[in-house]
């Protein structure tokens, strides 16, 4: 248990012990140097205090060996700090394969989370303990930042971009999350609680929800028809636009010969700026949907397209790069 005046937040994710260990290393090195400098200054200050008004000090102009030492030793320590920090950061920026993906939309001044089954929450987030959780972050307006001190992780939520962050909760409980990028008037109250639950409790919590018409796949499918996407993107591959079956996560061959992985960011861009990347063999016919869809609608469309991942890919007209093709 923590004392009345804790010095660090609870450790509740896979990252927390590593970040705290790194912190301890930096504190030790810093304390050593700060103490050494302070002791030297205080010692000299009294030892060499001027006792006669016209006394002068002993002229010493420098020492190359000392200069070299105090450049090289700090440099080595600094490289140690850099490397250790880089290891944690690279781990943080590269999510594992088997993540539980949750969408998180920030807007002035609230957070909307959506579980894979469509369960929605506002300023709350429920996650199972021991499971790798990936948050896909989108903003409706200005830049926000999703920050969970007990997990030691944060990521900016930038309009026009999808950012992702991941963590593995290690301890059931309720933890603060904050918006940590200043976003206007009520920035300080744009926060809430992460609830980390035992997997069975989480499953029970999820089943208590009404999937139905809030299920993003269902909403996305409806939108796909409403916005007439389905008039060109025929699943048979015979339409004016590529079939989206099996698209998500696959490589797409573009007209310029390059390939791109169809992830959330690619799909979002293709909806909002269809001409940015044209699939090989197709004409730039698609109109832009910039300003016509909310972030949540885009997420629903993405969820629907994701659900087509398991659908049979037509031999022709899929837009998916052949697996034996270029890298």
């Amino acid at each position: 248990m923590q004392s009345q005046l804790p010095l660090y937040p609870e450790q509740a994710s896979n990252f927390a012990p590593h970040v705290d260990g790194l912190m301890l290393f930096l504190i030790s090195v810093s304390f050593f140097f700060a103490a050494a400098i302070t002791i030297a200054i205080v010692f000299f200050f009294f030892k060499y205090h001027r006792r006669q008004p016209n006394a002068v000090g002993t002229p010493i102009h420098g020492d190359m060996r000392l200069e070299a030492t105090w450049m090289i030793v700090p440099l080595i320590l600094a490289m140690g700090m850099f490397s250790w920090g880089a290891i944690i950061y690279v781990d943080y920026r590269r999510a594992p394969e088997d993540t539980l993906d949750i969408y998180m939309v920030g807007k002035q001044w609230m957070w909307k989370a959506q579980q894979p089954n469509g369960q929605k929450e506002i300023n709350e987030l429920h996650v199972p303990v021991g499971r790798n959780v990936r948050l896909i972050l989108a903003s409706e307006d200005v830049i926000h930042d999703f920050y969970v001190p007990a997990f030691r992780v944060k990521m900016d939520v930038v309009p026009g971009h999808y950012n992702t962050m991941w963590f593995r909760p290690t301890k059931p409980g309720r933890y603060h999350f904050f918006c940590s990028q200043y976003c206007g008037t009520n920035h300080a109250i744009m926060g809430g609680w992460v609830t980390v639950m035992e997997p069975s409790d989480y499953a029970a919590w999820l089943s208590g929800s009404t999937g139905g018409d809030t299920n993003p796949v269902v909403v996305g499918e409806k939108l796909f028809a409403e916005k007439a996407c389905n008039t060109c993107h025929l699943s048979s591959g015979l339409g004016r636009a590529p079939s989206l079956n099996g698209l998500f996560g696959a490589k797409v061959l573009l007209v310029d010969g390059s390939t791109v992985v169809a992830d959330e960011a690619y799909i979002r861009e293709s909806i909002l700026q269809p001409n940015a990347k044209i699939v090989a063999g197709y004409q730039p016919l698609m109109p832009t949907f910039q300003g016509q869809l909310t972030e949540e609608q885009i997420l629903a469309l993405t969820a629907y397209i994701k659900s087509l991942q398991s659908q049979p890919v037509p031999a022709k007209g899929a837009g998916v790069a052949p697996s034996t093709g270029k890298k």
Partner: protein
């Protein structure tokens, strides 16, 4: 003054730059660098007062978790205006435009800066820019944060953003002209014998600062102008709804605003590099390393900007490169601290106020610099970015470092500027109060940050209250540490003891002319025949020069 070796009754010079001419016109149309420095001194003090008052309100508000004083809108305006006033209108011009302006010609033996009229122009530009910003503050205020992140500033904010960005844009030219003036002056106006490696380290620091001012300021000026254009005319530079990219703004903004930190701290390092050898009465340890590290900081400082953006989703490879470069810039700063400390070894150390400020600077800057390593560390930054840890870190650098150096420099050169001394015991007391008050205010914020309190919060969870109250208590002591010098320095202008040309004594050229100096600085162009900070071969200082010292005078220890 008892520290004067020759116990003479000093008299003020018959005619000096202060009484050579009279009347308001003689000040507003002056081209004398010393008078322009005093114009700047007055105007940056106004902004320091405004910024300080806002900081006081912020600290009072944060006494309770729900916010004790103002509404969220007002709180956001308080910290935004505090940042804008302090950074753009106090910290950046403070040491260069006041002390640099006053001292650089004196230190190199010149009659004035290279372009005296441009020097005056730069002050008017500063005042015009300042008026725009004050207009913004008084008509709706400003609530974007001093960082003006888009699209909040360019689309969503309802406050007076446009006049503020115009004001900062205009003010940028003041900085550019000052930097240009310094560089040309140092290149072309040095007195005979004043070689590059005889330049006071204060001049080296200002030379490096001027490079940053000239190369960096245009970028921030244009960036804020683009944000202003996006706000006024809906041109899509940064707003994704118009095809822009908000991250682009951050790159452009920090390309200047990180080097701007070095605009604030390098001149302060220059001040400390003057004070320490003077009050230890010995040559500075590693002159070339301190001079060179100023240049290294200025150059590497341009290559680290994206360490403000590790959690924006920028490429992990970019993050790795910027973290690595940020660690490199720590080395020249460390070199300075080690050399200053070594200078004290076998010195003849006086306990005068300027020395107390300089030693306080080393302590606080060391903590500020070391905690910079925490933020440059990628793995830690994902936790402490945008928390109070950042607030504490940069206040240690900017207030503990830059302001401490500025106040120390004012105490050091005050007898030169005014011709009079201030109260010795009071000034020592104020230096100690400032140091204690500062640490009490900002050290708790490191812990708050690690505990996870985000910055720019008008209210906070109750578990953070104890540390916030501690910080506010410290701030009241800190305020006393600033008000005291303002009082006794003002008092000394009229009633202080007459100082004489070289009261400490110090070795620089500025001390070879009367205090206050005549308008032309020197009656005859001086010729420099001595090395910097050499107390041994300077019989004119009236010290125990030439007398055998306690240890052999070789550089080896």
């Amino acid at each position: 003054m008892s520290t004067t070796p020759l116990e003479l009754e000093h008299k003020l010079p018959h005619e000096d730059y202060l009484n050579a001419t009279y009347g308001i016109r003689s000040w507003l149309l002056t081209t004398d660098h010393k008078r322009i420095a005093l114009l700047y001194l007055g105007s940056v003090t106004v902004f320091f007062f405004i910024g300080g008052l806002l900081a006081t309100l912020i600290r009072i508000h944060l006494l309770t978790p729900t916010g004790a004083l103002v509404t969220p809108e007002t709180y956001n305006k308080l910290f935004t205006m505090h940042g804008v006033a302090m950074i753009f209108f106090f910290l950046i011009p403070s040491i260069p435009a006041v002390l640099g302006n006053f001292l650089i010609p004196l230190m190199i033996g010149a009659k004035d800066l290279a372009f005296p009229k441009i020097n005056l122009l730069s002050w008017y530009i500063y005042v015009i820019g300042g008026c725009f910003v004050l207009y913004s503050f008084s008509t709706g205020g400003l609530d974007t944060g001093w960082t003006f992140y888009t699209p909040l500033s360019s689309v969503y904010s309802n406050s007076a953003v446009t006049p503020a960005v115009i004001g900062i844009f205009i003010n940028g030219f003041s900085s550019i002209l000052t930097g240009l003036n310094f560089i040309v002056t140092v290149h072309t106006m040095r007195a005979p014998g004043m070689t590059w490696f005889r330049l006071p380290l204060f001049v080296w620091a200002h030379y490096a600062t001027s490079m940053v001012m000239i190369l960096g300021t245009p970028v921030v000026a244009i960036t804020l102008l683009l944000a202003g254009l996006e706000r006024m005319f809906h041109l899509g530079f940064f707003n994704p709804a118009l095809g822009g990219d908000p991250i682009l703004f951050q790159h452009l903004f920090w390309f200047y605003s990180h080097p701007a930190v070095y605009i604030m701290i390098l001149p302060s390092m220059g001040v400390v590099s003057e004070i320490i050898p003077t009050f230890a009465r010995k040559p500075i340890f590693g002159y070339a390393f301190i001079a060179g590290s100023s240049i290294a900081i200025a150059v590497i400082g341009f290559l680290v900007w994206a360490h403000h953006m590790f959690v924006t989703g920028e490429s992990a490879y970019a993050a790795l490169a910027f973290s690595f470069l940020s660690y490199l810039v720590a080395i020249p700063s460390a070199v300075k601290v080690f050399n200053w400390t070594s200078t004290l070894y076998k010195g003849s150390i006086s306990w005068d106020a300027p020395m107390l400020y300089a030693l306080g600077f080393i302590g606080l800057f060391t903590i500020g610099g070391l905690t910079g390593l925490f933020l440059a560390c990628l793995g830690l930054d994902i936790h402490i970015h945008d928390t109070y840890f950042v607030i504490a870190h940069f206040h240690y650098i900017m207030v503990g470092g830059a302001v401490m150096g500025y106040v120390g420099g004012l105490h050091f050169w005050w007898p030169k500027i005014t011709g009079r001394m201030y109260s010795e015991p009071l000034s020592r007391f104020a230096a100690v109060i400032l140091f204690i008050g500062f640490n009490l205010t900002f050290f708790p914020q490191f812990i708050l940050g690690y505990l996870g309190m985000p910055r720019r919060y008008h209210s906070y969870p109750p578990e953070f209250q104890v540390l916030n109250v501690l910080s506010t208590a410290g701030a009241s002591i800190l305020a006393l540490g600033y008000l005291l010098p303002m009082a006794y320095l003002t008092w000394s202008m009229r009633y202080g003891e007459v100082a004489g040309p070289n009261p400490w004594p110090a070795t620089g050229l500025e001390w070879k002319t009367p205090s206050p100096p005549p308008t032309e600085n020197f009656d005859v162009t001086p010729e420099v025949t001595w090395e910097p900070y050499d107390f041994e071969n300077r019989p004119d200082l009236g010290l125990a020069a030439g007398a055998p010292s306690l240890a052999p005078a070789h550089g080896d220890d």
